[in-house]
Structures are given as C-alpha cells and as structure tokens.
C-alpha cells in the first residue's frame, strides 16, 4: 500500500517524533509513505471566510500532487489534516471556489476534490485494521492506562471531516486497545486545549489544560496521547497543577511494534 | 393579446407540469398557500396519478410549443394507487431518451417526486426547472409548424 504523505512544517522541526515513529511503524505495517516532493505549509488554520482563496492554495497543491500520482493523501498532524480535508471538501462542493482556484492554478485538468484525504489514524483503522496491528504488536503495553486526547481539529465539524462520532469518538481508544494498553475515557477528550490562543492568553490555555489533565488523572490515566503538536505543547507546557506524560500516539505505536 | 404586447419580446418559456392529484398537485397547493413563488411559465395540469400521463401528452406539448415538460408524482413507495409512479418512472425514462435522440435535450424533460407536504420542494423544483429551460432557450424540435402564427 502506497500513500502520498504530507508531513507539515511542525513535523519537520518541533514534532519530529510524531513523524519519525509514524514512518517506522508504517514500514512494519506494510504501508509506504511517499512524502510529496514539494509541499508548503498548509497555514495551520482553516480559513473560514468565503473570500479567502490564496490561503487555501497550498492545500490544493498538495491535493493536486497526490491526484497526479493517483494516491490517497496521508496526513498526520491534526491541523494539517483539518485544513487539507476541509479545503478538499470546498473543492468538491463549492463551485465558486473551484472556479477561482482553478483559474489561478491553471492546471492541465482542473482539480475538483478527487483526492481522498486520510489521517494516519484513519489509515490504521480503515486501511490496515486494528486487528492486523494487534497481530504485529511484539511489545504489548499491557496494563498501561492511557487517555486519548482528540482535541478539536480531528473531529469538528463532523459533517465535513467524517472522522468519527464528534461527541463520542472511539478511534483512538480502539488504537490504544490494539497496542495492548487500556484506554481511559475522559470527558474533556474532545474539548479544546487552548490552541493558538495560548500565544495571546496563556491563562485561558492553562485553565483548559488543567481541566483536561486533572480529569484524566481522576479517571486513572497514566499518560495522554495526542496527534497534534499544538495540543502536545499546551498539555505539556501549560499545565500548572499536575503533570502527566504527554506522548504522540505514533511513538506508542512504534514502541508496541518494537521499532522505537 | 394586447395585454402583454411589451413583455412578449422577452423570452418567456412555456412549461407544462403534469401533477398527480394526491401528492404533487397538493404540494403545489401547499406552495401556493405558503406563498412560495415560482415563474408564471409553469402551467399545471391535474392528473389522478403520474401513471395517467400518456407519452402522447408530452409529445403533444412539445409539438404545440412547450419548452419543457415536468411530471410530478408521489415519492416511490408512497403512490396513492400503490405502484402508479413506478409505471410513470419507467415510461418516462424510455420516452425521455427517445426525445433526447430526437434532439429535445434531456434537461427539458423531468420527473420529480414531490409529496403533499413538500411545498418548498415544489417551488424550488419549479424555479430550478424554469431557470434551466430559460437558459436552454426556445425549443424548436418537434414543433408542428402548422401551429406557428
């Protein structure tokens, strides 16, 4: 199985672990991640205004590149996934956007949302299958109680992202089970960590993070996993009361598969 | 007619809508009582069921200068006469592909399922259809020249 891969800026710098272990694990699982030869930053936030075109172009270019190779586009960072999937949805459904973007890009054949965007977790669930992961695990994380933190960007708006039940998701819990650990459900797993507003209002981020971590601890979690570098940062750097290890889910996967 | 000398110059399409008595005609009534507008181009003929629409009626309409024909009936499974709309669907599929072959564009003919509770759907369907026909312009095919003024 070969997929085009869009890593994103943060995975090349501060979140190298997220990327590195994803690649190592994919190898074990028989998935080839072909990094796009050329890609630019997705912009990290989806531009909601109807007159924003230029800020969506980098996502379209990535999508177009994958289309040319006839491959699905794999994403890993929650923010990149959110932006690219929503832009792709625009390109499928918004005629005005289609026209403007294609007029600008002057492609041989207009891009109208043909590429399928797949998050690494979706790949694990839908393309590889958690059962298969179970088979490949050599180092099961038995007895480890892990809380999944989804954040916002993977789940909402659910009608576009179609990732999982936005209020009661299960994909990360299923993942945790597949590597032999015990999932711990926390009620704040799909509530915001403070996001980029931590640059502006650290207090807000601290409040949100404290709530998330204390609730996870109350439920007995020993660690929290995430797919988003910004969530990772907030949960790690902005907690004031308690500390829990915050880990990228790919790192645990690699550990369980014995390639860490 | 003198009433309309001025507006006559602008192209006004003529659309014949066959509506079944139980669903779509009632849907049109609901569109009316909800004051949901659609162009005057649409003229409705009441039939007991969409299966009462003989392909001859459609041909005749085009011969006599209609620019579009729409047949509206109950949703599949909801026909007042159990199965009439299924007959209509089959007959019209066949007829429309034949008309297409004769040069009457596929967009000029349509079958829609509109229930008695779907006033909004009736009006949006008619607006859409009228717009499509307006864009296609006058239908010249199949016209009985003896009917021309």
């Amino acid at each position: 199985m070969i997929l085009s891969y869009y890593p994103g800026c943060t995975l090349k710098t501060k979140a190298q672990d997220l990327d590195l272990y994803a690649r190592k694990s994919a190898e074990v699982l028989g998935v080839t991640m072909e990094e796009l030869e050329e890609w630019q930053c997705c912009g990290a936030v989806y531009p909601m205004a109807s007159d924003e075109i230029a800020t969506k172009l980098s996502a379209v270019r990535a999508l177009e590149n994958a289309k040319e190779k006839g491959q699905d586009l794999l994403t890993l960072c929650s923010a990149c996934h959110h932006v690219i999937k929503r832009v792709n949805h625009d390109m499928q459904t918004n005629a005005d956007m289609q026209m403007k973007v294609n007029n600008y890009l002057q492609l041989d054949e207009p891009y109208t949302g043909e590429t399928k965007v797949v998050h690494y977790l979706e790949m694990l669930r839908d393309l590889v299958g958690f059962d298969k992961i179970k088979e490949k695990v050599v180092n099961p994380l038995k007895g480890k109680k892990i809380a999944a933190y989804y954040g916002c960007l993977l789940l909402r708006p659910s009608d576009v992202l179609q990732f999982d039940n936005p209020e009661n998701p299960s994909i990360m819990e299923d993942f945790i089970r597949s590597i032999g650990a015990t999932p711990v459900e926390t009620p704040y797993r799909n509530e915001c960590c403070g996001g980029y507003v931590s640059m502006e209002n650290k207090k807000l981020a601290q409040k949100k993070v404290d709530l998330i971590i204390s609730s996870a601890m109350e439920k007995g979690a020993e660690m929290i996993i995430t797919a988003c570098p910004l969530c990772m940062y907030n949960l790690d750097a902005n907690s004031t009361e308690h500390k829990l290890p915050i880990v990228y889910f790919t790192e645990l996967l690699a550990e369980a598969l014995g390639v860490k | 007619m003198s009433l309309n000398e001025e507006t006559k110059k602008e192209y006004k399409p003529l659309i014949v809508a066959f509506c079944c008595n139980w669903c779509s005609y009632a849907g049109a009534d609901l569109a009316g009582s909800s004051r949901l507008t659609y162009p005057t181009d649409v003229k409705i003929i009441r039939v007991p069921c969409s299966c009462r629409v003989n392909p001859l009626f459609v041909l005749r309409a085009f011969q006599r200068g209609a620019d579009g024909v729409i047949i509206a009936g109950c949703h599949p499974g909801d026909c007042h006469y159990t199965s009439g709309n299924y007959f209509a669907r089959r007959r019209m599929t066949l007829l429309f592909s034949m008309l297409d072959y004769l040069g009457i564009e596929r967009e000029r003919t349509r079958v829609e399922w509109i229930s008695a509770a779907e006033g909004v759907k009736f009006s949006t369907t008619m607006n859409e259809f009228a717009k499509t026909i307006h864009e296609l312009g006058e239908n010249k095919k199949l016209r009985d020249l003896r009917c021309e003024e």
Partner: protein, 661 residues
C-alpha cells in the same frame, strides 16, 4: 357544442389583488362555447353558488368552469351546486387561479395572463366532459384500529359505543401504549394508570371490540368501505385461552437478560414475561430471542410450573383475514435515539436519562418502586437538571425540525413532582422557550416556579461531563449572561418525539400519505384533520403529529365520529372517474389487466358487432366498483381502447393544446 358558463372568483382580495378578474372575464367571454361569464367576490358563498345555479337555469348551461381556489378545496362545493341546479356534477371543472396563480405570482399582468390560460384549459376540458353517474358500493360495518395506545383505545371504545364492531391490532403483547408507562399526567397530576387501566379493561370487556395484541398488519387490499386486511398474530408460545396470568412462570424463568420494554430497559425481565401487572390481555409471552428452551432445547421450567398447561413451544404465527369498512392509524410515537447527542453524555453516564426513563424511575411500579434513585449507585439525588428541546427544533440534521409539544409540560410536571416528594432537592430546567398553550397549562408551569421553587434557566446545555462521581452540566444562562457549571446528580433529557417506525410501512400499505417527518398527512390541515387524503383511512393520536393526552383523546373521539359516520352508511357513492374499455378497439392483449393494482380488470368472451361483422372476442371489462381511477391501464393499452372517465386522453390533450396555444 357545449354551452359553458365561466365563473371567476375574487376570493376577497386573495385572487383579485393579483389577477385582474375583469380582464379574465373579458378575455374568456368570447371563447368558443362560452355563453356566460361573470365574476363575483366569493363564488363559494351562498350568493356565489346562487349565481351559478341561476345561470345554469337561465342560459341552459351544459358545462361550468369555476376559476377559483384549488379543486381540492371547493370542487365538491361547486359540483353540488351544479347538481342542485339540475346539471350533472361532473360537468363542472375548476381552474385553480389561487394556489397555482394569484398566491404565487407578484406581477399582475403576468398573473392575469396565466389565469386566462388556466381558464381556457378548463374550458377546453369541459367541452369534452360527459355526464357521469356514480356507482355504489357496500360498506363493511367493521373498523380496524392500528395501535392500542390511548388513541387507539379511545377511538375503538367510541366506535364500539355506536354499535359497530372494531378490532385493535397492537404489536406489543399488551395494549396501553406509552401512557401506561407514565407516572402522573399533567396538568391535574392524575396517576396515568388510574385513568388508563379502566379504559383498557373496557376495551377488553366490550363485546364489540376484538383485541389482536402481539400482532401486526401484514397486508391491506381494497378501498374505502371494503378493505381486506390480513393480520399476523405472532406466536406467544403461550396458549392465551389457557393462561390465567398467574405469573408463576415469569418469576421462575431463569433467563434474566432481556431488557424490560415497559421499564425502558432500566431493569431486566424474564424470557417469559407479562409486561406489567395491569397488562391487557393478562397473559404471558415468551421472547424466543432469550428463551433458553427455544435456543438450546433445555430448561422448559415455565412448562413445568404452569398448572394451566398453557405453554406451547410449538405455537406458530397465525394469519387472520378480516374485512373492514374503515381503518384508523393510531401507531403512536417513540422518543428519538440520542446517539447524535452524545454531548449530553446519555450513552456514557447512567445518571443521564430520558424523560420516559424518568417516568419509570418515579413510578411506584417502576424499577425503584417509586423512590427516585440515581441509576448509577442507587443513592438519593440532590440536584437534578432537566434539559428541554433535546433534538426538537433542530434543523442541523441531528434531530427533528418540529417542536415536540409535550416536553415543556411534562418537564414542569417532573420538576414539580420531584420538589414535592423530595423538598431537599434542587431542580434546574434549561429551556429555550416555555410553551404552555392549553387549558390550565401556564398556571401549571408557573406553579412549578412559584410554589415549588424550580429554577428555570433560559439557555441551553452545551456539554455534560463528570467529576468525582458528579455530573457537571455546562450551560448558558442567557438572561444573566453567564455560563453555568452545575454539579448535578441526575440529568433528564426531554428527547424529541418521533412517529413509531412502523408508521411508514403501515402508511405505505394503506397508500395513505405521510410527511417528511413520517407523520400522517391530513386530508386538510384545518378542516379535515382526522382524515387521511386516502378515503377510509382515519388518523388518531401522535401518528398525525405531536400531541398530549387531552388532545390525543379529543382527536381519537373526533376520529371515531368520522369512522362512525362512514360505517353508518349502507352504501358509498363511488368515484365515477373510472376506466372504461372500448370493446371495439380492445385487442385482448391483457396488458391492462397486468398493470391494474386493484384487479379491477378482467377479460370476458363477448360477441361484438364491428362494422357489421359479428364475432366473439376476448375483451377487457372494468369492474367499476373496484376501479379507483388511477389511469395506469389507459397508458399501457396499445390500441387506445382503455380510457379514464373524467380524465380522458382527449380531455387532457385538449388541456395541453389550450395551454400551449
């Protein structure tokens, strides 16, 4: 050539404001065949009708065109007027210039032009009209009520009271429906069981009423006055004639995995069970999905303990065929599934319950025997939060677009009952609007606030989480402009109502129309609210739309009155707009026979005289009492022999020509 009179209605200003009625009158005056044309303010009024009658007499009219509102509204009125003046009623045609013209167009010139065209089409049609004589058919003097909740029971009792036989088909093992599950009823706080169970007993003991419980309608054929219905009596694996309802088997049954439907899954029941103590009929039913004997062949304990020898593991479903004159849809409602509303934590927290589950938790016959306890730990709750409009008034696709109508009142009831029984509790109600239109309803709600001190909060809950065994309800208080986080012990969700899932399939069998929310459509929203547009089908209770018990009972009785009105007739006048075969043109191909959904067409050998040639041919014959006039046969007929009276090929062609002129 017909002598046609055209009558144009102003409908006050409904038509006249957008259509120049004078111009229409002028324009059609000179149409061929039109000998008289007039307009009047209200054609449907007595004076308007007199105008028509006088003109028929004075000008010897042979056809009448009324340009007015929809024929679905007043066609019958004008036909009757014509008949009174001695004209065959089917010589009247309506041009719909209100719903299809004046109400939807703005430009007076264009609307007037369209009205003239519609009038011309009607005139063209009348030219080809022929007098039609209606046949008659008999009425089977027996009614079927589908659904045995309070709506169905009330309708059946009223019909039986008038002396007609009536059968109730109920899919669960007992009648009683949702009302049997309720604790108290608003606005008087009567106990639901106290007022319902006597009616259930009446239904059982009334010799005009036959109960088919644990049964479903399998198929429906026929038409008003003459429905043929087959009813599947599902196997109970218990001989109901022998079962005494002692309940010995239900207590001994070792299978305890099945969720009790009556108690909303809050407790389990045996595989053999009687839904509740007052069930009618009071007999046991075996649930084959959970019965150990039926799955493994072992156990059979119930058979051993039954002194009446009523257990019959070999029982089969039974099909009952019955004829009816009228059918009542009383299929009722359910609460919506809350999978789409996990922000309220329903699937996660046992202490988040629906309002119907709450009824059971408050009910003396419920799982906690009337003591309100938290389902999670069986402790007494101190803080309760009620959330209204969960899934109602929701256009996002997760819920239902309509107001469920009953939640405001039952939530006030719940809040009041909790405060009354447990004065140490704090009760919060999150509301968007409090809707209390009904006799003594607003007074009731105000009592909850003023007398019982229930905290009503204008706002909505956004998320329910938990902390240290408490539920944290995060919501907005719009009047205080605050976000609240209430530490609660229980959360009660007023989930939206929806028609029972069986409604759609039953409605399809009855060919009765249903709206986009699966509620039954009325023949007229205001004037014929308990009848379906399909003749002989009547609507009772929630199947037609959300309503509370007082309203359901009134509607059920209204429905019964309509059914009685139908059953009281010995004969029904048939629709004369039926198919007719031209025997000289018929080629005997049988195509029409195959498409007819009613089996109204048969083939006979008949001697015909075809231009002097006498021969015996196989030709189609229409049974006019059975034909419903859909016209499927007319289009399928390759030789053009089949035609539909009132909507003949020539008539519709003439309309097409008139419109396309």
């Amino acid at each position: 050539m017909q002598k046609i009179g055209v009558f144009i209605c102003h409908c006050g200003t409904n038509i006249a404001a957008t259509v120049d009625v004078e111009a229409v009158t002028e324009a059609i005056k000179n149409e061929p065949g039109v000998v008289y044309a007039a307009n009047y303010q209200y054609m449907c009024s007595e004076n308007g009708q007199a105008l028509i009658k006088n003109a028929i007499a004075e000008y010897g009219l042979t056809g009448v065109v009324v340009c007015s509102c929809s024929p679905r509204m007043h066609e019958a009125t004008f036909r009757k007027a014509a008949q009174e003046a001695g004209l065959n009623p089917y010589m009247v045609e309506i041009a719909n210039i209100r719903e299809h013209c004046s109400w939807i167009h703005k430009d007076k010139v264009e609307a007037t032009e369209k009205a003239i065209i519609l009038a011309r089409a009607a005139i063209a049609k009348v030219h080809l009209n022929a007098p039609l004589i209606s046949g008659q058919s008999d009425v089977t003097k027996r009614a079927l009520v589908i659904g045995g909740g309070i709506a169905g029971i009330q309708t059946a009792l009223d019909i039986a009271e008038a002396g007609f036989e009536v059968d109730i088909v109920e899919k669960s093992p007992t009648i009683g429906g949702k009302m049997a599950q309720l604790d108290k009823t608003f606005p008087t706080l009567d106990c639901a069981a106290c007022i319902l169970t006597p009616k259930m007993v009446d239904a059982k003991s009334n010799d005009k009423i036959t109960l088919y419980t644990y049964s479903e309608v399998e198929s429906v054929k026929g038409f008003v006055g003459n429905f043929e219905v087959s009813i599947r009596k599902k196997a109970r694996y218990v001989n109901t004639d022998l079962c005494t309802g002692c309940g010995e088997c239900t207590t001994k049954c070792p299978s305890r995995k099945a969720k009790s439907e009556f108690n909303m899954g809050l407790m389990n029941r045996g595989a053999i069970y009687i839904p509740f103590a007052q069930a009618i009929p009071n007999v046991a039913t075996i649930d084959p999905q959970y019965c150990i004997h039926m799955k493994t062949g072992k156990c059979g304990l119930c058979e051993k303990v039954c002194s009446a020898h009523a257990i019959d593991f070999k029982q089969q479903d039974e099909i009952v065929e019955q004829k009816y004159g009228a059918i009542v849809m009383a299929t009722g409602f359910n609460l919506i599934n809350l999978d789409q509303f996990d922000e309220f934590g329903y699937s996660k927290y046992p202490d988040v319950v629906t309002s119907l589950e709450f009824e059971r938790l408050m009910n003396a016959a419920g799982p906690t025997e009337g003591t309100l306890l938290r389902p999670s730990n069986h402790e007494h709750p101190h803080t309760l939060v009620f959330v209204q409009c969960v899934g109602s008034r929701d256009t996002s696709g997760c819920g239902k677009p309509y107001c469920s109508k009953i939640c405001c009142m039952y939530t006030a009831k719940h809040a009041m009952l909790v405060r009354d029984k447990y004065p140490d509790t704090e009760v919060y109600v999150f509301y968007i609007d409090v809707r209390t239109p009904g006799k003594n309803f607003d007074e009731f709600y105000r009592r909850a606030v003023e007398q019982y001190g229930v905290h009503y909060i204008k706002g909505m809950v956004g998320k329910v989480t938990d902390k240290d065994g408490k539920l944290i309800v995060q919501g907005s208080d719009l009047l205080e402009n605050k976000q609240l986080k209430i530490e609660a012990d229980m959360v009660v969700l007023a989930a939206a109502v929806e028609p029972d899932p069986s409604a759609r399939s039953v409605a399809s069998m009855l060919t009765a129309s249903i709206d986009t929310n699966d509620f039954m459509t009325e023949a007229h929203a205001k004037l014929r609210p308990v009848e379906s547009p399909t003749a002989g089908i009547f609507l009772s209770g929630m199947a037609q739309g959300p309503k509370d018990i007082p309203e359901t009972v009134s509607q059920a009785s209204a429905c019964a009155a309509k059914v009685i009105g139908l059953l009281a007739k010995d004969h029904l006048v048939n629709n004369p707009c039926v198919a007719q075969s031209n025997e000289l043109r018929c080629n005997g191909c049988s195509n029409c026979e195959k498409v007819c959904p009613y089996g109204a067409i048969s083939y006979i050998e008949k001697e015909v005289n075809d231009h002097g040639v006498r021969e015996v041919r196989r030709i189609a014959q229409v049974n006019e009492a059975v034909c419903q006039g859909c016209g499927a046969c007319t289009v399928t007929c390759p030789s053009g022999a089949m035609d539909l009276k009132g909507f003949s090929t020539n008539q519709i062609m003439a309309e097409v020509d008139a419109i396309c002129r």
